[in-house]
C-alpha cells in the first residue's frame, strides 16, 4: 500500500508566515492515495496551519504568506479554482461546526451550492453520506431537526457526512475528536477506517494514541518543522529521531 503508491498531495519546501512570524519551515513530504496520514506534535507545531494551507482557508488571512509548492494530483494548488480545490479537499474542524440548519440541509448544503437541484438526487446523496459516516440509523427519522440539537459526536459525524456529500478526494481532519467522549471518538475513528478505500485522509491529532490506532503513516511536527515521517508502526516503535521517541513515549518536555 505504502511503497510505490501514487502521490495524492505533494508538498515541497513549504514555509508559511503570518506577518513576520514563521509557522512552518521548509516542510517536504507526500501523501499517498488512500492512506490515512496522521500528523502529531505538540500545540503550535504548525499542523493545523498545514491543513488550512492545503485547502486555502488561510488565504482569508491578510497576513498569510507561503513559499514553496503544493501539488494536488500533480497540479499546482495555487493555480486551481479555490472553490473546486476546497470541494476536492474536504475539511473537518476541531469543534463540530454544523450550520444552523436542519440535519438534511446541512448535508445537502454542499451539493446545492455546487448546483445539484433535483430533490430525488439530493435525497440520495443525503442518505448515502449519512450512512457512510454511520449517522443514518440515528437520525433517519428526524432529518428536519436542527443539527445543533445533536450531541457533539453526532454533530461531528454530521460534519463528516456533509463533507462526503460534495465527493471530496482528500479529507482533512483537524483534531476531529478533541471535544468528544471515548465512545463518540471510537465511532468517528471507525468511520475513518471504513472510508479508507475511497478517500485519502489526513488526520491532525493531539492524541498520539489516536494516530497509532488509525493512521498508516505518521508525521511528527515540532516547532514549525517536520521532524520525521514514516510508517506508523515504525514511528511508534523504532523512530529515527530522538525527539520523536521522546514525544511518542510521553517523555517530552
Amino acid at each position: 500500500m505504502v511503497d510505490g503508491a501514487a502521490a495524492k498531495v505533494s508538498i515541497r519546501d513549504l514555509s508559511v508566515y503570518f506577518g513576520l512570524h514563521r509557522v512552518l519551515k521548509n516542510v517536504t513530504f507526500e501523501v499517498h492515495s488512500h492512506e490515512i496520514l496522521g500528523m502529531i506534535g505538540p500545540a503550535n507545531s504548525g499542523k493545523t496551519t498545514l491543513l488550512r494551507t492545503l485547502n486555502r482557508l488561510n488565504d482569508r488571512d491578510t497576513h498569510f504568506r507561503m513559499t514553496g509548492g503544493i501539488e494536488i494530483d500533480g497540479k499546482d494548488h495555487q493555480k486551481m479554482d479555490v472553490n473546486l480545490l476546497r470541494k476536492k479537499l474536504g475539511m473537518i474542524f476541531a469543534l463540530p461546526a454544523p450550520l444552523p440548519l436542519s440535519i438534511y440541509d446541512n448535508v445537502s448544503y454542499g451539493p446545492v451550492v455546487h448546483g445539484v437541484r433535483r430533490r430525488v438526487e439530493l435525497n440520495e446523496i443525503v442518505e448515502q453520506s449519512l450512512r457512510a459516516s454511520f449517522l443514518w440509523d440515528e437520525v433517519k427519522d428526524r432529518l428536519d431537526m436542527p443539527a445543533m440539537k445533536l450531541s457533539g459526536g453526532q454533530q461531528q459525524r454530521l460534519c463528516i457526512a456533509r463533507t462526503l456529500a460534495v465527493e471530496p478526494e482528500v479529507i482533512l481532519y483537524d483534531e476531529p475528536c478533541s471535544g468528544l467522549d471515548p465512545i463518540s471518538t471510537a465511532k468517528v475513528e471507525e468511520a475513518m477506517t471504513q472510508l479508507k478505500n475511497r478517500y485519502t485522509q489526513i488526520l491532525v491529532t493531539n492524541n498520539t494514541k489516536q494516530a497509532a490506532r488509525v493512521s498508516d503513516r505518521t508525521a511528527f511536527f515540532l516547532t514549525s518543522e517536520l521532524v520525521e515521517i514514516d510508517e506508523t508502526q515504525r514511528i511508534f516503535t523504532v523512530p529515527k529521531d530522538k525527539r520523536t521517541e521522546d514525544y511518542v513515549s510521553g517523555r517530552f518536555g
Binding site: 472553490n83 474536504g90 461546526a97 448544503y109 451550492v113 463533507t163
Partner: protein, 283 residues
Amino acid sequence: MRLKAKLTEKVAFLVLLLSTLVIVIPVVLITLLILKEGLPAMSWEFLSQKPRMGMRAGGIFPAIIGTLYLVGGTMCFALPVGILAAIYLSEYAKDNWLTRMIDVAIANLAGVPSVVYGLFGLGLFVNFLNFGASILSGALTLAIMSLPVIITASREALGTVPQNFREASLALGATRWQTIRKVVLPNALPGIMTGTILALSRAAGETAPILFTVAAFYLPKLPKSIMDQCMALPYHLYVISTQVTKIKPQVQYGTALVLIGMVFIMNFCAMIIRAHFRRKKQW
C-alpha cells in the same frame, strides 16, 4: 476596613442607580405630559381630516401621510445600500488604509448635525439634480442621514455570526457570495432589521433634513407622485408651535403624541422582531 468597603459599595450602588434614573425620569415625564395634553385632541377627525382655519382646527392627516411616505422612501433607498455596503465592508474589504478611512468617514457621518444633511440635500438633490422640493429629495436626504447608523448596525449584526459558520461553508467549496447569502445573512438579518428600524424611526422625527428638501408649510392635498412636496409631522409640529398664533395647545400636543406614537410603534416592531428571532436562534 470591611465597614468602609461596605459603605463604598452602598455609595457606588446609589450613584449608579441615580444615574440610571436621571435617564428614565425625563422620558417618563415627557411621555406623561404629552399624553395628558395630547390625548384630549385625539379623535377620528384629528387623524383623518385636513387642517382647517389656518391649521388651528381640523386634523393632521396630510402630515401623517407625508411622514409615512418619507419613511417608506427612506427605507427604499437606505436599506439596500446600507446592507450591501455593510456586507462589502465586513465580508469583502481587505483591512487596509482605504477601508479604515471609510470606517472613520462613516463614524464621522453619524455625528454630522442633521441640519447639515438638510443643506446638503438642498444643494445636491433639490438644486443640482433638479429634483426640486419633493418627496424624492427629502427621502434621499433622510436616507443619507440614516446610512451611517444602518451600516454600523448591520456590520455589528454580521460580526455576531460566528466565523466557523463561514469557514464550514467555504470549506465545502461554497463561494463567498453563496456563504453570505445562505449562512451569514439569514443569521444577521434580525440584527440588521432592528438596527434599520431604529434608524428609520429617528428619520421619521427629523425636522432639519426635510426643512429645505420636501416639507410644505400648508398643503392640504395629498401628494400624487414622488416629485410632489408634502407635509410632515415634525415640520408641521414646528410650524404650529412657532408660526401659528392663537392655536390651542392640545392641537400641538396631539400632533406630538401622534409623532411619538409612530416612533414608538416602529421601535416596538424592532423589539418584537428581535425577541422572535432570539427564540428561534440555535446558537
